[in-house]
Each structure stands twice: as C-alpha cells, then as structure tokens.
Amino acid sequence: MGNHSDGSPNHSGTVATAGQNEVEKFQDPGIPPHRLRLADTDPRAAKKAERQVALLFGTSVVGTLIFLVSYFAIDLGNDSSIATIRLQNALLGIGTAFAMLGIGTGIVHWAKALMPDHEVSEERHAIRTEEDRQAAVRIVDDIVEETGIKRRPLIRNTLLGAVALAPLPALAIFGDLGPRPDFALAHTLWAPAPDGKLKRLARDPDGTPIKAADVTIGSAFHVIPEGLNELSEGRLNEKAKAVVLLMRLDPNELHPSPGRESWAYNGIVAYSKICTHVGCPVALYEQQTHHLLCPCHQSTFDLTQQCKVIFGPASRPLPQLPIAVDAEGYLVATSDFHEPVGPSYWEREQHVLIPNS
C-alpha cells in the first residue's frame, strides 16, 4: 500500500515529530495471555517429552563411555603415529561432546517442555531509597569536613606528595628485570674478532661457510655468521640480530651509493634479514623483480636501490653488510653493520654514529 503514513515523501529524511498529534500514547496492554504448550494439556505429549529428556541424558552416558574407552583402549605407546593421535583426539572430543551436549540439551528441553513457562512480572526496587541517598552524601561530606583536609592545605599537600612518591620503590624494585640496553643493540656478531680476523658468511642453519664461487646469479642464501652455532650462551639473541640474506644480481643492476661501492663482491650483496619495521625476518625474495618482501606486514624492499622501502609500513632500508672475499675464496664481512639492525628505537640515532671497526 505504499509508503504513505510516515511523513511527507518530498521531505527527505525526516518524519513526524512526537510533539504533533500528541493526543495520547498507546496504553500498555500488559503481558500477553499465557499460551499452554502441548505438554501442558496432553499427558501423552508430556510423557513423550519426558522420554526425550531421558533419551538425551542416556546419550550423555554413551558419550562418557566413548571417552573412557578411547582413552584406555588407544595406546599412544612410544612411537604413536600422528594418525593415532588424531583418531584418539577425535574420539575423546566426540565422547566429551556427547556427554556434555546430552546433559545440556536434556536439561534445556526439560525446562522448555515440562517446567512451568509462565512469564511473571516482578517489581524493580530502587537501588537505594531517596533518604539513604541524601544521607550517604551527608556522611561523606561530614567525614571530609571532620578530617579538616580542606582547611589544612599543609596536611593535604604533604600527604599528596608522600603518597605520590611512595610507589616509587615498588617500581624501582623491578629494576633488575633486565640489564640496561646500553650499546647492546648497536653490535652484532659480524664485528671482526679482536685479533682482526674477519667473520665468514655461513649457511643457515648448518653453519658451513659460503664460497663466492658457489653463489650463482639469481640465487639467494640465508646466512649466519661463522661461529654462531658454537656459541654456548645467547645464541638466539645473536642470531636474532645477525641473520643476513645473501643474493647475487647482475652487477649492473646494483646502484651503490658513494662509499658503498666496495660493499658488494661481483654482484653479491648481503642485507640484514631483520625488517626495519617491527623485526620480522624478511624471508621472501622475488628473484625476477629483485624485491624482498616481509611476510608479516608486507614491507617491500628493492635490492637494486639498496633495499629502499618501496611499499608497506617500514620506513628505513634494510642495513647492508659490507662483504669481500678472503684468501681461500670464502665470503667474509669486512665489518659489522654500520647501523643497528631491526626495528627503530629511541636511542638508535646515537648508535648509527658509533664507528664499527
């Protein structure tokens, strides 16, 4: 019958106001009359519902038995296959599900079909009486008044000062949760050994050194510093900073900036694998486009532009590791990274200035 009762169609958006036609409002007709269920009038229906509830409870018993049988009958032994575990997991789950759903649906069916379903109305009582409400405000006012805190600002201010300072020891006592950061983030395992020996680039994870001759154009290596795997302590901490991606491109495709010409060897370049965004490993190398992609947040770095960010949330290029070849033909890092790897942090700028030697 069309839209004709709710305001003028040529007046967009709005309809009648409450103020107009305020003849009266509809009166609340009260709770609708109760409708009897089949089970309320027909004893056979009630009996049927009763049997259904009992059947559901019976299903629960079956479920419990399924659980117990599959728990004790399936032996995980010492070399259980994944299939056995999946089977047991499924049976334990089915058993529990039947046991629980049987009870649950049984009770709910019982409640809905057989228990009285008369909706009743109950008065809401005010949370508190008006008298209490005013008394409470008066009591608080009296208490504040009797302390005299408003009249004695000296007491109030010294108390505030004391209370403000008192939690400081509670904070200070957590001071040993960790060491001071100092320059820890500025260095990696790539720094040459104290005797001046340069670190070789080794394969991740087995740690075998990489010969420059093994790196063909288009290939990529996941790299760790030589000796990382032999660390007895802090191996993961060092690895978290030192992992590197090694790739070989046509040397003409690299465009090193001044000062970085000698950081590559024959088109072989090494870049930190730790994303400058929030630190995920930049693990995806698109060989055709020479892009590196971080799978966590899709920051994309262009190898041909010294890993400049070309897409995504990272702001800085991946740090480059200067590399060369030693006398035996193995790739070595000529120095540590010239800047901290990984995500930015407050003091980072100072650490960039620290000369790596």
Binding site: M1, H4, S5, D6, G7, G13, T14, V15, T17, A18, G19, Q20, N21, F26, P29, I31, I85, Q88, L92, G93, I94, G104, T105, G106, V108, P116, V120, S121, R124, I127, L177, G178, P179, R180, A184, P205, I224, L236, N237, K239, A240, K241, C275, H277, V278, G279, C280, P281, P295, C296, H297, Q298, V309, F311, P313, A314, S315, S344, Y345, E347
Partner: protein, 559 residues
C-alpha cells in the same frame, strides 16, 4: 526463646527431604534471606542475552582445561633436544617450553584434546565478550544505572585479550615467537622508555631466556585473577541492577518480566553451560587449532608466509600493515633532536586501539551529555529506535573490521588472486571511508525499519491475499495486529532535539551550544511512534489512499 519451647507453640518443621536439608544448612550458616531474595528472582529471557553466558562459561572451561595443562607444561627456555614421540622433530634443539608443549600434544593421552579445548575456548571467550558488548551497545543497555558495569565489561575485554596473548606465546613455537618479536618491535618504538621496557620485559635482548616464564606467570596467575575479580564485580552489579529487558507488552522500567531463577531459568542457564562445553569439545575434536608441531621451535631466522595472529589481535596487526612507512620519498619515521620517533609503528599500534577504547569507555557519558537523559533505563532500545547510536556503533564496528581484514591482506590477495598492494590500497581507503558509509547506511536502514514498523502498526501485516474490488481495483488485504504485537511496535520513545538552554546567568555558553548541535545531529532524523489517533485515522478510511495521504499531510514536520 522460652515461648518457642512451650509445647503448644507452632514449631515449623520441614516436610520434605529437600526442605529438611535447606533448613539444616540455614539453621547453621543462615542464608534463608539470600534464598528468599534469589530463589525465585525473575530473569528476562532473550537469545541475545546468551552471549554474556557464553563468555562466562568459556572462562570456566578455560580454568578447567588450563589447570590440566599446567600439570604438564614447563615454561623454561633452557635448550633441550626433543626426545618425544613426534618423529619429524626427533633430536631437534628446542626450548623446554616447546618440548613440553609437544609432549602434551603427543605423549599425554588427551593432552592434545585439552590443548585444543583450551585454545578454542580462549578464542570463543574473547569473541563472546566482544559480541556481548556489541549487544549491550546496540540495545542501549549501558545507560544509567549501568554505566559502571559497561566500564567493567570493557576492562574484561582488554583482560581477555591480554589473557589470550600471553597464553598464545607460551608454547615458544615459531609462529608465536614471531608474534613476540612484533610486540618487541612495537615496544621499542615507544619514545624515551621503549628500549628499556623491551630489555626489562625480555630480561635483556630479544628473545632472551626469561620471557616465557614471565608470560606464564601473568597468564596463569595475574590476568586470570584480575578477570575473576572483574567477573565478580560484573555479576554483582547485574544483581544490584537486575537484568534489562527488551521492550514489549507488560514490560516497563519499573518491572522485570521473565522466568523465575528456580527452576526454569537456572535449568536453562545451567544446561547451556554443558551445551557450550559440548560445542567446544566438538571443535576441539574436528578442527585443528595451533598445530605447533608444524611450525617448529622458535628460531629468529625463518618465518612462514601467511602468518596470522589469533583473531582478537588482528585489528592491531592490520593497522600496522595499513600504515605506510614512506609517503613518496618522505619517511614517516622521524629523527628529532637526535632521537627516533617511529611514527610508522607508534601511530597504528596506539591510535586506532586508543580511539576505539576511549570512545567505548566514555560513550555512556557522551550520550548522556548530548541527550541530557538522566533517567534510569531498564527497558532496552530496539537498535532501529535509536538510529544515530546504532549508526555510531556500526561505524566503529566497520572501522574495526577494516583493520581486522587488513591483518589478512596477504591471504585475501592469494585467495582472490588480486594484487597484494591493491588490497592494501583499498583497505587504506576503507579505513577512512568505511565508517562514514557505514554510518549513513545504518542510519537510513534504521529509519526505514522504523517506517516499516509504523506501516505495520497502522495497516496491519501483509497477508499476500489480493482482492479485486467491484470497480476493478486490486488491493492486498492487510490483517490487523493484536494489541500486544502492536504495542511492541509503538511503545518506544522518539526524543526530539534539545535546543540549547541558557545557564543560570541567562547565557548560552559555547559548551551548551555544542551540545545542542550534537543533540540536533543525534535526533533530527526521527520517526515518531504511531499514536492512537493516527491509527484511528488509518482505520477510519481503510483502503482509501487519498484519505490516509491527507491524514499524513496534516502533520507538521520537524524541519
């Protein structure tokens, strides 16, 4: 006392076994008062009230399954060589935490089942808390006197996410380790204290050897204790306020209509616990969740493509993905005064979540200020009857969903064969446009539904029966509503905008002016409930278009 001992004084004796037990307990510890108050307390019934129950029950399941897991889990990050029965990882170097998680999965009977029950119910817990909050928001249940309970609910939502995240990281597998590394990157971006916070959290450099045991303590002690405390406060306030009810015949702000707690409501609610448990068990039986044995132990070098956090962290992760790190050649990360301001991480990590939670926590007060509505409300609003609030809620919801979808941008790209960059560009646009579209569309839909309600209230429901009148006109016969159904459609308030009111100095200050503007924005588009006079008019000329049009055009319009 002595009078009660006289032989002819009537002494109350319980007649049934149940009565005798009740009486026995009552005479020793008291409690008849409590039972009298609660035994038959009336609870309104509606399917949408279940979400809160699901949350409570999944928390109980979490406590049960979690306790089981603690008997076998060892949160140590010491290095060990795996010696369990999962052959692909035999002798692989890993942390004790990861090894014990594998043992729970492969060598403890039912361990995998309990792990999956625990993880699924954790996901369900956060989900049901969220949906429950949406229900409360869209029905206006947060209004006076329930504002503080809304805040407690918000705290519970944050705590549930904290519980989830601390637990997610415990197995020390590759996936959760990368998640922790992202957290570390976000923490490091915090100005001034970021680096120290990271070092203190991890006990030194990432990943260190402390983080799992620290998260474990938070996960099994501090966070659940806080959740429990908040749940107690939450339920206490529910008892104080009594439950809200949907509008309908016989229901008003002065009463509660529903079923008595005992037996019907208690049976339904209690039975529902078993149903929730059963459903979680089914999910644990058939849907693998967090197969840590596929990921391998944490190692800072590898990462799997398509990594996803648990769903409730998704919106933050998505925001991180959406933020561009460079705009042209301009870096969003800035170095000022020799210090790094990592805006490309800080802004997406803090601003959207900050806005969402700030608006969420303060919304009851914002709406109360705009509407000047200081009355107690126990009858809920149907979402359509509060179009602007519903539209605000949908705008926020869509905003959240855009960020959430962004956390799966790579999966969207691979599943639908579209370019990853395009997905990101579109989602960046939707981040700004989506909430606006959602607001406008929702408000129009709500108003349209209200008009439909008016239509039904005035003319009855369509029967689908077409009748040809003697002069040849075809009409559809409408069946009139009974008074109960009609009351549901007409028994609501439709407040008009509140113009600015001068203060005691007779001046309309700027704040009041702003409030009046917001009030107009809130209420200017509105549909008034049908009045008896309108119904009379519609009935008096039933079937006659012209007359009804005439009645409608008599109305004065609000603007």
């Amino acid at each position: 006392m002595s009078s009660s001992l006289t032989p002819d004084a009537p002494v109350f004796v319980a007649k049934t076994t149940g009565g005798r037990i009740t009486d026995f307990v009552d005479q020793r510890v008291g409690g008849s008062g409590i039972l009298r108050e609660f035994g038959r307390k009336v609870f309104p019934d509606h399917w949408s009230f279940m979400f809160g129950e699901v949350a409570l029950y999944s928390f109980v399941i979490l406590l049960l399954s979690g306790t089981f897991l603690t008997f076998f889990f060892d949160p140590s990050m010491a290095e060990t060589h795996y010696a369990g029965s999962y052959t692909p990882l035999k002798n692989v170097e890993m942390s004790v935490a990861y090894s014990s998680s594998l043992n729970i999965s492969f060598d403890v009977r039912g361990g995998l089942f309990m792990r999956q029950v625990h993880h699924w119910s954790a996901l369900l817990f956060v989900a049901s808390v969220s949906v429950h909050m949406l229900r409360v928001f869209f029905t206006g249940a947060f209004r006076k006197p329930r504002e503080l309970n809304w805040v407690v609910g918000g705290v519970l939502l944050i705590l549930s996410m904290a519980a989830g995240f601390t637990g997610y990281s415990l197995p020390d597998d590759l996936l959760s380790g990368n998640g922790l590394r992202i957290i570390d990157g976000v923490i490091k971006s915090i100005p001034v204290i970021g680096t120290y916070t990271s070092f203190f959290l991890f006990g030194g450099e990432f990943p260190g050897t402390m983080i799992i045991s620290r998260l474990y303590m938070l996960h099994i002690l501090l966070v659940p204790a806080l959740i429990l405390l908040m749940i107690v406060m939450h339920l206490f306030m529910v008892v104080v306020h009594k439950h809200t009810q949907y509008p309908g015949p016989g229901r008003n702000d002065g009463n509660v209509v529903g079923y008595p707690l005992g037996p019907v409501y208690a049976a339904k609610a209690g039975g529902f616990f078993f149903i929730v448990f059963g459903v979680v068990a089914l999910m644990a039986a058939f849907f693998t969740i967090n197969p840590i044995w596929n990921y391998g132990p944490y190692d800072p070098s590898p990462v799997s493509a398509g990594t996803q956090p648990d769903w409730y962290i998704g919106f933050v992760d998505g925001a991180l993905r959406l933020m561009p790190g460079t705009i042209g050649d301009w870096k969003v990360e800035q170095v000022w005064f020799g210090h790094v301001f990592t805006f490309n991480v800080l802004l997406p990590a803090l601003v959207p979540a900050g806005i969402l939670f700030t608006v969420m926590f303060t919304y009851p007060w914002i709406e109360r200020w705009i509407t000047k509505d200081n009355r107690e409300h126990h009858v809920l609003d149907r979402p359509r009857n509060a179009p602007t609030r519903t539209a605000i809620g949908m705008a926020g919801f869509v905003w959240y969903c855009v960020m959430w979808a962004a956390a799966g941008s790579d999966l969207i790209a691979t599943h639908f064969n579209v370019a990853l960059n395009d997905v990101t560009y579109w989602l960046r646009a939707l981040f700004f446009v989506g909430p606006v579209i959602a607001f406008v569309v929702t408000k129009r839909v709500a108003l349209a539904l209200q008009r439909k309600d008016r239509e039904i209230a005035l003319h009855g429901r369509e029967t689908g029966r077409i009748v040809r009148l003697p002069h040849g006109e075809f009409i559809e016969v409408h069946a009139p509503l009974d008074e109960y159904k009609r009351y549901k459609l007409v028994g609501f308030e439709s407040p008009a905008p509140l113009p600015a009111v001068p203060n005691e100095h007779g001046v309309v200050d700027r704040k009041e002016n702003r409030r009046a503007k917001l009030s107009r924005w809130f209420f200017e588009d509105r549909v008034a409930p049908v009045t008896p006079a309108e119904l009379e008019a519609a009935h008096g000329h039933h079937g006659s278009h012209e007359a009804v049009e005439a009645a409608a055009s008599q109305k004065t319009l609000s603007h």
